[in-house]
């Protein structure tokens, strides 16, 4: 049984005048201790998927269909209090904008101590000492003193370390990292990625890593899911996906990573056009309007996710025919 199983998830924002279908029938699994990358551009539904897993969809967002199982238990069936005990303890979150995620008027240490107080039976003093320990563990020097500081007194990298410290506090089975390095410069990025890898090797936590940047996740992830317009268009082991990308969208993404080897290209290839409006999705393939291999049938027929190798699946008409 996988650690996390997202099964046919459909989430939508029900506005008065229109329905924005942000996530449409997404299914995937994360095994214990596995690092899975969820890749997609802005508006592809990756953040909504994550918010659905934690049941923290902002209003008027609703989970319309599907199941989200953690060790076989459907999170959508849990009571509010049961769900609260899952958040931060079994599934922890690391966010992109650490400064905005930290309360500006409460010392850093107290915000980590709050996690211990919410999930374990400890006294305030013990929780504080544990929080200081967590800060030390994510590599913040003079942690006792630093714990009394406020978020704005920390550098961007230290803010992100603080958020990771809060996430690791209760040894979660799954860490969801939503673009945790986007706001950081490259050297700090590497330190944060190393910290996440360390969490996996030391605590055995699985990681669902959300990003719009394929290059960043290459070395981190065991497996990659590519999302486009609210659905998964290709998934497979990182190596396979990089060696033989099948979906034209994945191929386009890979082509747009600047290379340090080989010929210097004058122009970096980009995928033309914009993703479709989630309030008015096309009936056929959602990538058809931007695809270089588009055929007549693509605009009418919505392709299924089909297997094209071991653990490798793709949602494209070009590969549907090859399967029996």
């Amino acid at each position: 049984m996988p650690l996390l199983e997202v099964d046919d998830l459909e989430a939508a924002f029900l506005f008065a005048d229109r329905t924005v279908r942000a996530v449409n029938g997404v299914s995937f699994a994360v095994e214990a201790g596995e690092i899975v990358g969820l890749i997609g551009e802005s508006g592809s539904g990756k953040s909504v998927t994550v918010q659905s897993i934690l049941r923290l969809l902002p209003s008027p967002g609703r989970i319309v269909r599907g199941a989200i199982r953690l060790n076989g238990v459907n999170l959508l069936d849990l009571s509010r209090e049961q769900m609260r005990q899952v958040r931060g303890r079994r599934i922890a979150m690391v966010v992109q904008d650490a400064l905005a995620a930290l309360n500006p008027v409460i010392p850093i240490g107290e915000q980590i101590a709050d996690v211990f107080l919410a999930h374990t039976q400890v006294k305030r003093q013990t929780a504080w000492e544990k929080a200081v320990g967590m800060l030390r563990r994510v590599g913040i020097s003079a942690a006792e003193e630093r714990a009394r500081h406020y978020a704005h007194e920390f550098s961007g990298g230290m803010q992100q370390r603080t958020v990771i410290a809060a996430a690791l506090a209760c040894t979660p089975e799954l860490i969801i990292a939503d673009e945790p390095t986007t706001a950081l410069d490259v050297t700090v990025q590497q330190q944060i990625l190393a910290l996440l890898q360390q969490a996996r090797s030391e605590l055995g936590s699985a990681i669902l890593y959300i990003s719009h940047d394929l290059a960043v996740v290459t070395h981190l992830c065991d497996r990659i899911l590519i999302m486009y317009a609210g659905e998964i268009v290709e998934q497979g082991p990182t190596r396979t996906l990089f060696r033989s990308p099948k979906h034209p969208y994945t191929q386009g993404l890979l082509a747009s990573i600047p290379s340090l080897h080989g010929d210097v290209q004058e122009y970096l290839p980009a995928i033309p056009g914009l993703p479709p409006n989630a309030a008015a999705l096309p009936t056929g393939c959602r990538f058809a309007a931007r695809c270089t291999f588009v055929q007549e049938r693509c605009r009418a027929h919505h392709p299924e996710l089909v297997s094209v190798g071991s653990h490798h699946a793709v949602r494209c008409i070009l590969y549907e025919a090859t399967t029996p």
Binding site: V86, R87, M93, V95, A100, P104, V105, L117, A118
Partner: protein, 314 residues
Amino acid sequence: MLRYTLYRLLLFVPLLWGLSVVVFVYIHLIPGDPVQAMVGASASQEFVAQLREEFGLNRPLLVQYVDWISGLPAGDLGITFRSRQPIAPLLLARIPATLQLALAGLLIALLVGLPSGILAGLFKNSPFDHLFSILSLAGYSMPLFWLGTLLMVWLGVSWKVLPSQGYVPFTQDPLKNLQYLVLPAVSLGLGLGPYIGRMARAAVIEALQEQYVNYAHAKGLRMRTVVNRYVLRNAMISLLVVFGLNIGFLLSGQIVIEELFNWPGAGRLIVRAVLERDYFMIQASVLIYASIFLAINLLVELLHAYLDPRVQLK
């Protein structure tokens, strides 16, 4: 914090000086001769000239200003025009009554406005929030003198449950004093309460949209912790700042209520000074009220700096 406090206090001195200049210039820029206005058009020219001489109004403006301001540090606010009494003791005698009414009114306003505004903000778009919006808008739109008159007529005149006019010092008869206090304080509180309530609601809604509140939920914190430490703590800080900026509402409302309920506070003294065209009294009162306004804002700023660690850096 100590450095910041000293810095703000030091800054307060030139601020007060600037205020005195504005008040002085403002009073003296009013067109027409103040003495003529005070004694009326029928007075003889000789009488007017004599008064001008007596009050030193023939001297250059700068000399008059220096004369006025040099008395201020010692608490000399000048003398009234009609009775020729020193102004400072007159104002000072009114302080207990004014302070009592202001604090009681503020307390009622906070008791009415804070809990309802916070609840409305936390449960935005709930039936309670809609009810709150309607009631607070009604209270907010109702002029203070009208609200006070209604209460006075119902509770004081028709049902005769409370005295509607007058004042007894607390030291003389505490029970009577409180009876007299109820109507003006409730009027002031109900006038100011919806104002505070709406500010509190807005502050809570703003805080609820912050990412750190969402992240607090993602950490699995209990609802109580999220509301107290993440939502309210931040909302109350911004409420404090907005409240400081709007303190003039309380000060001006107080003058109206004092006049309406015959409450012998400093506000009534000002109203009388205006009616009698006592320029010296007006000048002194405006200076005092403006100083109180600035002092409260200073207090709010210091409190803000104490509560919000980001302030002292700016």
